[in-house]
Amino acid sequence: MFVFTLRRLLLAIPTLLVISLVIYLLVDFAPGSPMSEIPLTVPPEVRQKMIAALGADQPVLVRYLLWLRQFFWVEPAYLIDGWFGTHLAGDEQRILSWQSRSPVFTIIGQRIPQTLTVVGTAYLVGALIAIPIGIYSAYRQYSWFDQLGTLFAMIGFSVPTFFTGTLFIIIFAVELGWFPTKYDTMLNVTDWSSFLTQLRQMTLPVMTLGLANAAAISRYMRSSMLDNLGQDYVRTARAKGEPERTVVLKHVLRNSLIPVVTVIALGIPSIFGGAIITENLFGVNGIGAALILAIHASDLPMVQTLTFIFAALIVLFNLIADILYGLLDPRIRYD
């Protein structure tokens, strides 16, 4: 398993390089330009000069190599300088967003905490609700609990977050006045009352996202449990007189987790990726909102950096999922 992990980690490097080139070419090739949000009153000559000042008129490969250098050399050097007070980076140019002219990593640094607290909590809440629902639904298949769970999951999945989010705003913020509609990103949690304020402002986005996450995970959990509940080893375990609780939670659950682990492993990078619609709707300044803004403004350095980090996380978590498969089912072998 160790050799396998090492090999996969080494293989990840060329994979990520290819991914980064593909993303760069794709985003560059997509129609749109960094000038699309500039008012029409700006004359064409001025637009050309602005594009030139961004360096956006350079050939695409030159820009890609510059980005690689900045990402793998300049930015880590800055980080080290920041920690140890060295001067590795010198005056080298950091990766700057075209839209805001701020360093991309400063923006990411500002936004990660929001994304992790809101989207991360929503994911956690979703998974914690979904897994028990899935298990119990499968165990008591076609009971009223199962039917209700199915209904809830299907509605949760078929109505998109732009709908549920707005619905929650209208019910809980406008009509009942319980929660704010806009997330205050400047809030510092220092004491009990500011913690409560933070909880209050997190509630609506977490509910919106948690519902969508719980829906999908509970369905995979349920179906996988159903598959395993009918297996011979379950009958054997029961025949041996093991308590029902042990049978279900130890034998069946463990064997049912493979698809669920896959879904969750695919979902964790998407926590970092943020929740584009929900973040935008509630004014949570997370990564998802940054990505969509950057895409609409054709802010290539920002899009490229964010999607590349996202890609690295996907590769990493898929590797973790593969390792987990081996732990869950020792029969799975990779070499």
Binding site: M154, S158, P259, T262, I295, V315
Partner: protein
């Protein structure tokens, strides 16, 4: 419950396997209800345009009757420029159901094939899973923009504009949504191929093709069914995102996803605007889910035999 009834109605000797599956399927109440609802939806959108034709009022008349609630003249009400919502729901349903099912089928076909190949053949695992990583990592919106820019005119020239847009949309949704299915199926296959019965089958020299079709595929049906159910909802909503980016059908072409999207702005004042399309999408997904449940039970010989 299901089991006793299955036993009661089971004929002594089913003519064929297909027939046996159907027999089992019929006993699943949820599946039958789901199939009925889906059939009703399909029939409604197919014959709807002939059965319900309120006639086209002039623009001025339409504007006078904008944002109405349900009435005899407009059973589902009207929208912000006085268009009859029932007419629009029927038109939209045709497109949304077609997009939902075809795109889901493409994505499931891709996902399952790649997942099984990667899981079963060790040599393919690396390349195929790295390909999956690439697709997972690609930012969706630029990818769709590029796809449409490159192929819209070409496909439209080959097949005519409307069919062209349809094909392109289902392909675009299909090729950007198969990855999760592929990863899930691969994970299952990795575990399945080390099970005793597969090892046994292999040791007696069963060729891989037969092994996959007869022994592996039936055992990954249930996660695939879930993926299919979720895939339909996903495809219907993704279509509305495409329209939102100007990449979908022309703007005067309603779909359920777009009606829902447009309706959100009016949700507070005229809740029916979101209820109808939301209900239609949920009903479709719910019925597919139950059909999937029934199908899985019917395909599982352990349950069928009981």
């Amino acid at each position: 419950m299901t089991d006793t009834r299955a036993a009661a109605t089971r004929p002594d000797k089913p003519d064929s396997q297909l027939r046996a599956i159907w027999q089992q399927f019929r006993t699943h109440t949820g599946a039958v209800v789901g199939l009925t609802i889906l059939a009703i939806l399909v029939i409604l959108v197919l014959i709807g345009p002939f059965a319900w034709n309120p006639g086209k009022p002039s623009v001025l008349e339409a504007l006078k009757s904008k944002n109405l609630g349900p009435s005899l003249r407009h059973p589902l009400g009207t929208d912000q420029i006085g268009r009859d919502l029932l007419t629009r729901m029927i038109q939209a349903g045709k497109v949304s159901l077609a997009v939902g099912f075809v795109a889901m089928a493409i994505s499931i076909l891709f996902g399952t094939t790649i997942g099984i190949l990667a899981g079963y053949f060790r040599r393919l695992d690396g390349p195929l899973m790295r390909l999956t990583d690439v697709f997972l990592a690609l930012p969706l919106i630029p990818l769709l923009l590029v796809l449409m820019m490159l192929f819209r005119d070409k496909v439209a020239a080959l097949t005519g504009p409307e069919l062209g847009v349809f094909l392109l949309i289902v392909m675009a949704i299909g090729v950007t949504s198969w990855m999760q299915t592929a990863r899930i199926v691969r994970g299952e296959v990795l575990a399945l191929k080390e099970r005793e019965y597969v090892l046994a089958a292999r040791s007696i020299g069963t060729p891989p093709r037969r092994l996959i079709l007869r022994h592996i595929l039936p055992n990954v049906v249930s996660p695939v069914m879930v993926a299919a159910t979720l895939g339909i909802a996903d495809a219907i909503i993704t279509e509305s995102v495409l329209s939102f980016l100007g990449l979908g059908f022309p703007p005067d072409f309603p779909t359920w996803g777009r009606l829902l999207f447009d309706g959100v702005e009016y949700m507070q004042l005229y809740p029916v605007r979101v209820i109808w399309p939301g209900l239609a999408i949920s009903l479709t997904v719910l019925s597919v889910n139950y059909i999937g449940d029934g199908l899985r039970d019917a395909l599982d010989p352990r349950i069928r035999g009981r």
